[in-house]
């Protein structure tokens, strides 16, 4: 922890020259991205532009073909699954389709990883889980099963599941895209609170309003590359690049 405090200047996540190809298709072309502690980075861009590929390369769900990643200054040995697991213990992830384990209760979903990765004892993990559930207004759902929850509730549990590992950063891949409109707000509320509390986040989203108010930086991707990035207001209100403008016109 002291190392973190003394390293304020070192980005928490620093990716350089990330490239990822599927067969002949290049999904990510030499992309660099640096995320400081406490920063909220929103990644926007058309479908197929490589947003998911980018954030999945940050925790090794996809192993980049080229490039480097440093976590808190320390380079990740990208060929080693063990090195990726160490990254994942520090950087949590939330998916588009919540992906809770359907045979486990809400509480079991949340405590599974903290207990099995040796982070916490069972009782401690359960207590943490209940506290976090209360924070997202789901204290009464601890013993429910995923099949009994709404989409918005599922996604809030998925966020809590990631938070239970006490991550230093969260990667979120379109966390509200699969939700009915009336459930989007309850999830965005949770994310807004997290951002206010200083959680470092990289979030792929189509919620431009949310990006504008909660993100410190917005990245626009197109065709496997970062086309433009900068302060949320600047990129969203006065984009420099024509491609960014075209995209924003289309979705606003």
């Amino acid at each position: 922890m002291t190392a973190c405090a003394s390293n304020r200047a070192v980005p928490l996540i620093a990716a350089e020259g990330l490239t990822k190809c599927f067969a002949k298709h290049t999904a990510l072309r030499a992309v660099s991205l640096s995320v400081a502690r406490g920063e909220v980075v929103a990644v926007i861009g058309p479908s197929g532009s490589g947003k998911s590929t980018l954030i999945r390369c940050l925790n090794g769900l996809l192993v980049p073909d080229a490039g480097t990643i440093r976590i808190d200054g320390a380079p990740v040995d990208m060929r080693q699954q063990r090195a990726w697991r160490a990254v994942r213990l520090r950087v949590g992830m939330v998916f588009q389709d919540c992906s809770l384990f359907p045979h486990l209760s809400v509480l079991q979903n949340i405590t599974l990883a903290p207990v099995r990765t040796g982070r916490m004892r069972r009782e401690q993990a359960a207590e943490t889980a209940r506290n976090l559930l209360a924070r997202v207004q789901l204290a009464d759902k601890a013993d429910a099963y995923p099949a009994q929850l709404s989409g918005g509730q599922l996604q809030r549990v998925a966020i809590v599941r990631a938070l239970a590992m006490a991550p230093e950063a969260l990667l979120l891949d379109e966390p509200t895209s699969a939700l009915d409109p009336e459930m989007i707000a309850e999830v965005l509320d949770v994310l807004r609170t997290l951002s206010r509390e200083g959680m470092t986040m990289v979030i792929v989203t189509h919620e431009i309003g949310f990006a504008r108010e909660a993100a410190s930086r917005v990245i626009f991707m197109d065709q496997a590359e970062i086309v433009e990035q900068g302060a949320a207001d600047a990129v969203l209100t006065a984009p420099r690049e024509a491609r960014t403008r075209t995209f924003l016109d289309k979705i606003l």
């Binding site: 769900l61 994942r88 992830m93 992906s99 359907p102 045979h103 099949a147």
Partner: protein, 223 residues
Amino acid sequence: MSYQFDTSYIWGQSDALGAGLLMTLKVSAISILAAVGIGILGAIVRVMQVRGLSAVVAGYVSFIRNTPLLVQIFFIFYGLPSVGIHLSIFNSGVLALVVWGAAYNVENVRGGLLAVPDDLRDAGAALGLKPIQFMLLIAVPLGVRVALPSVLNTSISILKNSAYLQAIGLAELTFVAMERISLEFRTLEMFAAIGIIYLALVLGLSIAVRALEKRLHRPFETA
């Protein structure tokens, strides 16, 4: 046309049939449970592509599925002693049924494991779980649920195929019936009796597994 079907004869044989039934139950229950356990292990080895072992399991499955069970039983009972492995009749019988049933269960459970969505694998990995932890904590519980109907079919086959063990002299239901028939020639009565007993056993097993299935499905019910 003079054959008199004699129900009372069957009741008179209830001691012998009871002993045979008990043996059938014992050999089947042990074999079914062991075949499920080994089937799960084999499926894990196949799905995780454990180097070397995976090919061995694939070969074993293919060998068992493409040779007659009776040949396998004789191989174990008559063949193994010539390489110094001496097993009792009971142990030979159990071994044969386990080896046979586990091969089918490897395929049954493998199918179930392959049906587990990749999304869940990613979620497990993103949480820092090791592949083996994901396999044991998530994939197996989900995959076995999917595989349960086909595992039931294999288990029923194990139960029915225990009748083959009369060929090596295991005193199970069919053996007992054959023995009585060779002494008293009440063929129809005896085969009718054991036919009904096998039917009841299979139905009982099905009902038990359906109940288990229902129990395991409980988390998936909405509200």
